[in-house]
Symmetry: C2
Subunit: 251 residues, 2 copies
DNA sequence: CGCTACGTTGATCGCACTCAAGTATAGTGG
DNA sequence: CCACTATACTTGAGTGCGATCAACGTAGCG
């Protein structure tokens, strides 16, 4: 149609792949769950981390691998996917710098339940699960912070269960786009641009739908003037309208 | 049809409603996340709890209420339900003695996201969220344990998201019954009896379906000889067959 | 014994999945 | 710079699972 452009995403340019450089301390000290620790404590914690870089599409780990590390994103984007024997996957989350993933509990899960894949150039900091556990016991404030974040993720997952149970694809897609906008949105001339490679397939795996159906609903949203979208990108142009579409009627 | 019986559930008889009696220490010391603490520590923690009893059907709290307490089940069953404007609810979980629910994080959620309702005579121990937070910071081992449990619940919620996204109602129901059997099952002459009042509605709200569809699939399961069921109760009579029905094909 | 809530069964309908055949985009190598 | 190819996206037609609406059976309680 008329007003579609080509790849306005800037992530690969904006985020230089600086994984080997030692701004690790800088990154660690900005982590939400290390706030409150002294610089010295963070420096000490820092020694237990190892950094690792990933190209777009590379896997950080696969579901079923022995779960031995907690990882924190320094730069880039990572998606978490639950697999299925029949090839229909579920995209659990797209993570941004400062977020952790992987193995929280050494006792609990022996293997990863999901696959972690880099969406862009990504730098990940890794910590052995046992070291993480020691860290939690030494700094209770960190443990509480991690618990807070995990509890919030549980809330979000439960909300998603609810939506899958009661809402139409259209509503779930609108909701998902809004959430992505909040988390990854960057205002610009295209509207609120979702700063990550985002294919129809990804949206299908986030909403429990199919590529074709998502494509149809996206076309509809675009016709209504609520979004703009192209190959692997989406921008929200009419937030309020999308919110209305995501809202549930009282009936 | 032929072989249906009437209410084999024994919960109300087996669990005397002993909420006012002070076996609280006993109960607290058996909690998974207090293991490792000394009797004296537990006695001290005990002072901050208040007990409260509920009749079947009574509400422990409503979604939207200010979230000020962490609660632990001493005896009975509590279900957690997320509401919906249109009346289609989602049953998140059925909790048994020793399990906690409510407000984990004082900072985070100001109000409860779900409603908690007693299914049977139930005794609940309540702790102010602030006191819980202090407890977590004082006993890091407890914090780690709570984190473990929360992380596991997150895994389960994500698994449920996956199932809602890819599986049929029949498969989801089979899976749900198996999970309930594991958690609440009691072997007897009827098979593995799920020891809690469990209506078709509840199963519908657990699987993201409707009463009518659940009724149909339950009839089918019964005809196959996999379960027995009546008003508000279910027993599994052929575990392996149910497992096969819950399993996902490779292609 | 009747009332209420729970459960069953049938008929119909529509959302979204599936299969299929296209078009557009971006990266690649000449 | 442009053809070439791979991958992403679009659109159409047909189908089926499960929701909805409706009516009736059944258990248990007061």
């Amino acid at each position: 149609m008329a007003s579609r452009r080509k790849t306005p995403l800037q992530i690969d340019i904006v985020e230089p792949h600086a994984c080997t450089i030692d701004l690790r301390l800088e990154i660690l000290s900005r982590l939400p769950f290390f706030e409150g620790l002294t610089a010295e404590e963070i420096a000490q914690i820092n020694r237990h981390f190892r950094e690792e870089g990933f190209q777009p599409g590379e896997y950080v780990y696969y579901a079923g691998d022995p779960a031995r590390h907690l990882q924190v994103i320094a730069t880039g984007r990572v998606k978490l996917v639950r697999h299925n024997l029949s090839g229909k996957n579920v995209l659990l989350d797209i993570l941004t710098p400062g977020e952790f993933f992987g193995s929280l509990s050494p006792a609990e899960d022996q293997t990863y339940a999901e696959t972690a894949q880099a969406l862009t150039m990504t730098c990940v900091l890794r910590l052995e699960t046992a070291a993480f556990r020691i860290l939690l016991e030494r700094y209770p404030a960190v443990a509480v912070k991690v618990l807070d974040i995990t509890a919030r993720r549980l809330q979000e997952a439960q909300e998603r269960v609810r939506q899958l149970s009661v809402n139409s694809v259209e509503r779930r897609l609108a909701y998902t786009l809004l959430k992505l906008g909040e988390k990854l949105g960057q205002a610009g001339e295209m509207g609120l641009l979702i700063q990550t490679p985002l294919a129809r397939d990804d949206l299908a795996e986030m909403t429990g739908s199919t590529t074709e159906t998502i494509s149809r609903v996206m076309s509809q949203f675009q016709k209504e003037g609520w979004i703009q979208s192209g190959r692997q990108w989406v921008a929200i142009t009419h937030l309020e309208a999308l919110r209305a579409a995501a809202a549930e009627e009282i009936e």
